[in-house]
């Protein structure tokens, strides 16, 4: 068994920032990640980092834009903490050497981005995430922070009190992909989950193959609620054949969207008469699909994003990476012809319920970054708000996990017996995994080491079972069916029959997963086994996304329902929460927080 003060699970932007922060507080921090940190999907982020740095801009303005973009489903304490802290965290990256794009006077450049009332998006070419990731990994190397790379965390070691609010997390169980060794990692102070996105629940996604919602699913089964899972962002400009992302920076620099008739539809059909292409992402995605459904798409599948008029020099200087992506993955020269684009799954606004310190309801368990829901992005994330979230809340989670007092949190977390519950007539949660190791395990013990050891034993049993099963179903078939039903039925436009169909399909996928078998019997670098475990996690998060979408009878942000095409503030200024409830999931609600000590965010009509 390994032992550290703080164990960070995941080596992307949030995980690296958390580990550095914990280390700076004097803690012995270690990162455990299924990829090497530089392989993390933060590296694929292109556009930028929003921060109110300049005269004429203010944190209040950034907070207001974020809350409006969120369609008033975000929590004010999270939004304000974020907007106030983003500037210092962004400059911290500059002090760590990040190669930002620069103005003539040598200061970092900022550009306009969708939904922002001030050009406050700092960037490093169209590869901002790559530079952020590498800059922070370099600082991890500098500090000598321990990294266990290609170790896959499969389970949290949590006590098993009846009420999740009373439980404590003492560490994790991880599996060394290289050797097959299963080991406990005891965390003396805390575990920070920073496992990133869950886009692999869909088959057309900008997310990496590694983005399988592991942290969300593990925290969920340990008793932490999943929050606002139905809020999935579909990015309006992804390449049709692969889902590779074309940055919003293209539109920020002046790129224009055209339909098959050559019309600038964002304006001509009134989707966003003020901001046009730079309206919020949900608005642009719906506009594109409406055009395509109305027969004005190209090949009935996509629209055109044109940047040719920007000129070769500007394209090369600021968007060069886009030229490479369009060429390599779609065979299109962005300087010569418009690029085909369509909406694709991009980002999960929801996730592990945490407060503004990154803490969950389980003592010693934290989450930050895309896997967490603090809730900053509410029903729709603004472009350029994900990267600063990683550093702002990654740092806070790392510090708090290291034992630093961040004051009393204003956001409440954890199951609440008095909360309003949803009435739902569909089976959820069962069947679960192939062995009975889901519920938190301790066998009555309270000794942290014994709890970690008991969890290791349970994981050994699960993995042995998966490896011993003969002639079963290949997880890839289950995953593929799941991805297809999610893309078909839980997409940009949602209807009740389609959502119910998806829940049926997920139920069937759960049944099939009972017979899953890992054909590769080797203990050495067994990706078959890894993907099989990931698929289980995808089943749980896909179910939560779908059931959240089914109960939310309104249209808010990224969530559009055919039967309810209005935002319903009288009833729905509240978060959707799904609790595992030891295998019998419950759906319940908690009001969103639109007031802070300083400000009040009155819901307004969201027009761009």
């Amino acid at each position: 068994m390994y032992e550290h003060d703080v164990i960070v699970v995941g080596g992307g932007g949030a995980g690296l920032r958390a580990a550095i922060a914990a280390h700076e507080e004097g803690a012995d921090a270690a990162i455990v990640t299924k990829l090497h940190p530089v392989r993390s999907h933060t590296g694929a982020a292109e556009g930028g980092i929003n921060a109110a740095l300049r005269e004429g801009d203010s944190w209040e303005s950034h907070a207001y834009d974020t809350m409006k973009g969120a369609d008033y489903l975000a929590d004010a304490p999270a939004v304000e903490t974020f907007a106030k802290t983003a500037p210092e965290e962004t400059i911290q990256l500059e002090h760590w050497g990040m190669p930002f794009s620069r103005e003539d006077d040598g200061r970092v450049s900022q550009r306009p981005f969708g939904g922002l009332s001030f050009p406050r998006t700092t960037y490093a070419g169209a590869e901002t995430g790559h530079h952020m990731l590498h800059t922070m990994y370099e600082q991890v190397v500098k500090r000598g922070i321990t990294v266990y790379d290609e170790w896959y965390v499969t389970q949290l070691a949590v006590t098993d009190e009846d009420d999740p609010n009373d439980r404590t997390c003492h560490g994790v169980v991880a599996w060394d992909i290289r050797t097959g060794e299963i080991t406990g990692f005891r965390a003396r102070n805390g575990v920070v989950l920073a496992t990133g996105g869950l886009g692999q629940a869909y088959d057309h996604t900008t997310n990496a193959v590694a983005n399988t919602g592991d942290g969300v699913a593990m925290a969920y089964r340990a008793g932490v609620p999943m929050e606002d899972m139905e809020m999935i962002q579909f990015h309006p400009t992804t390449l049709p054949s692969t889902g590779v992302l074309i940055s919003e920076g293209v539109r920020g620099e002046g790129g224009i969207l055209y339909n098959a008739d050559g019309e600038r539809f964002m304006f001509e059909y009134g989707y966003a008469t003020n901001d046009g292409e730079l309206a919020s992402r949900d608005v642009v995605s719906r506009a594109e699909l409406t055009e395509i459904n109305a027969g004005r798409g190209i090949e009935d599948e996509y629209v055109h994003l044109d940047m040719r008029h920007l000129g070769d020099e500007r394209i090369t200087d600021r968007l060069e990476n886009i030229l490479h992506l369009a060429r390599d993955f779609e065979g299109v020269d962005g300087k010569e012809e418009p690029m085909p684009v369509k909406p694709g799954q991009h980002y999960a606004m929801g996730g592990i319920e945490v407060n503004e310190h990154g803490k969950t309801c389980i003592d010693g368990l934290y989450a930050a970054g895309e896997c967490a829901c603090v809730s900053l992005h509410g029903a729709n994330r603004l472009g350029g708000n994900a990267l600063p979230e990683l550093i702002v809340f990654g740092a806070r989670a790392g510090r708090h996990a290291a034992g630093t007092d961040l004051g009393e949190a204003k956001i409440q977390v954890g199951p609440d017996p008095d909360a309003e519950r949803a009435d739902i007539d569909v089976p959820l949660g069962e069947p679960g995994t192939v062995t009975e190791t889901d519920a938190a395990t301790d066998g009555g013990s309270t000794d942290p080491t014994a709890i970690v050891e008991a969890t290791v034993e349970a994981e050994n049993e699960r993995i042995d079972t998966l490896l011993e099963n003969e002639d079963g179903i290949n997880h890839a078939d289950v995953r593929s069916d799941l991805q297809q039903t999610m893309t078909e039925n839980v997409n940009v436009f949602r209807t009740e029959p389609a959502l119910r169909q998806a829940l049926d399909d997920i139920q069937e996928a759960r049944e099939r997963y009972q017979d899953v078998a890992v054909a590769d019997k080797s203990r050495t670098y067994n990706t078959d086994l890894q993907h099989t475990i990931e698929t289980r996690n995808l089943l749980d998060v896909a179910e939560a996304i779908t059931v959240g979408a089914l109960v939310r009878n309104e249209f808010r942000g990224a969530h559009w329902r055919q039967e309810f095409q209005e935002r319903r503030d009288d009833e729905w200024l509240k978060h959707t929460l799904v609790s595992w409830n030891d295998g019998d999931p419950e759906i319940w609600y908690r009001d969103s927080i639109l007031e802070s000590e300083e400000k009040s965010y009155e819901p307004k009509e969201r027009s761009y």
Binding site: L35, H36, V38, R39, S40, H41, G43, A44, L53, P87, E88, I91, E94, H95, W96, G97, P99, F100, S101, R102, E103, G106, V108, G125, E127, H130, H131, H134, T135, E138, Q139, V141, K142, R178, A208, V209, A210, S241, T242, V244, D328, F329, E330, G331, I473, H475, A476, S480, E511, R512, Q514, D515, A519, D520, R523, T524, Y525, N526, T527, D528
Partner: protein
């Protein structure tokens, strides 16, 4: 597609309707359906659908039959726009789930899937199949220990990267936490290409010198040193320290300008030029002291 429907079969059984029995039956039916599907795919492949022939290196130290390295043949249905990585994923998910390779982002930024394809180091996700002669021969990167199939041990590469102080280390930064250091556009331009490295190790694998001298820092690590050496935000003292690192016995002077690293770099970094520029800096610096 499938010739079996599990539901009709299980409904016909009335004797035992326990969930366990139903599951087992459904499982059998699905196994048959799967076999039918596979046969169908094979038939399609044999008939008119265009396929791509892959010859893939296989090795697993634990599995009998794979302990001796061998090549397996896969015939993958071809679709326009398909990359080497797409074909590998199809082969794994359809024919042999033990086929093992690293991959994640699918867009040439995570650097996981550097492979040796038809004798060249490249990223599987970045290479279109229609640009390759068949059969497409896919091997792990040369000059690295093979862990399994196409997965190589990256530790040596990471060690070399870590050996050059691969982090920004300025004399001081502004006291004001909201004030950035200044950097000219020209200076950013000078280091820009060097910052694009994704640590895929294709360059290291292609380098004859690195193959013969295990202590050679290698192109990627020297490029990393370049990235900081020329960054005007760092101080002179640190610059000097960086020169000392890259000037040592297994540093820049080992490079014989064969340009193989530059030729294989998936991010088009002019690695050989960067190494030569650092050689010049080292010479200039030594002249100063003499």
């Amino acid at each position: 597609m499938s010739t079996q429907t599990p539901d009709t079969e299980s409904e016909a059984q009335t004797g035992d309707d326990s969930p366990q029995a139903r599951r087992l039956e459904a499982k059998d039916a699905r196994a048959e359906a799967r076999e039918a599907k596979e046969a169908e795919a094979d038939a399609a492949a044999a008939a008119d659908q265009e396929t791509v022939h892959l010859k893939v290196f296989r090795y697993d130290p634990e599995i009998e039959g794979k302990q001796e390295p061998r090549f397996d043949d896969f015939h993958v249905p071809y679709e326009k726009g398909m990359t080497v990585l797409d074909a590998l994923i199809h082969a794994r998910d359809t024919y042999d789930s033990s086929l093992t390779f690293r991959h994640s982002c699918r867009q040439a930024v995570c650097g996981s899937d550097a492979l040796f394809v038809n004798g060249n180091q490249l990223l599987g996700c970045q290479k279109q199949l229609d640009e390759l002669d068949q059969p497409v021969r896919i091997e792990p990167l040369p000059h690295a220990e093979v862990v399994k199939d196409l997965v190589v041990d990256m530790e040596h590469f990471y060690d070399q990267m870590h050996a050059v102080d691969p982090y920004f280390d300025p004399d001081e930064t502004p006291d004001d936490e909201l004030e950035e250091q200044r950097q000219s556009r020209e200076n950013r331009e000078q280091v820009k290409m060097s910052t694009r490295c994704i640590w895929c190790s294709a360059c290291m694998s292609s380098c004859n010198i690195a193959a013969g001298d295990n202590q050679y820092l290698g192109p990627a690590a020297i490029n990393k040193a370049y990235r900081f050496y020329f960054d005007e935000r760092e101080g002179e003292q640190k610059q000097q320290e960086r020169l000392e690192i890259i000037e040592e016995e297994h540093g820049v002077w080992r490079c014989q300008t064969q340009f193989s690293c530059t030729n294989v770099c998936p991010k088009d970094i002019p690695l050989t030029e960067h190494i030569q520029e650092l050689k010049r800096e080292a010479v200039k610096s030594n002249l100063k002291f003499w």
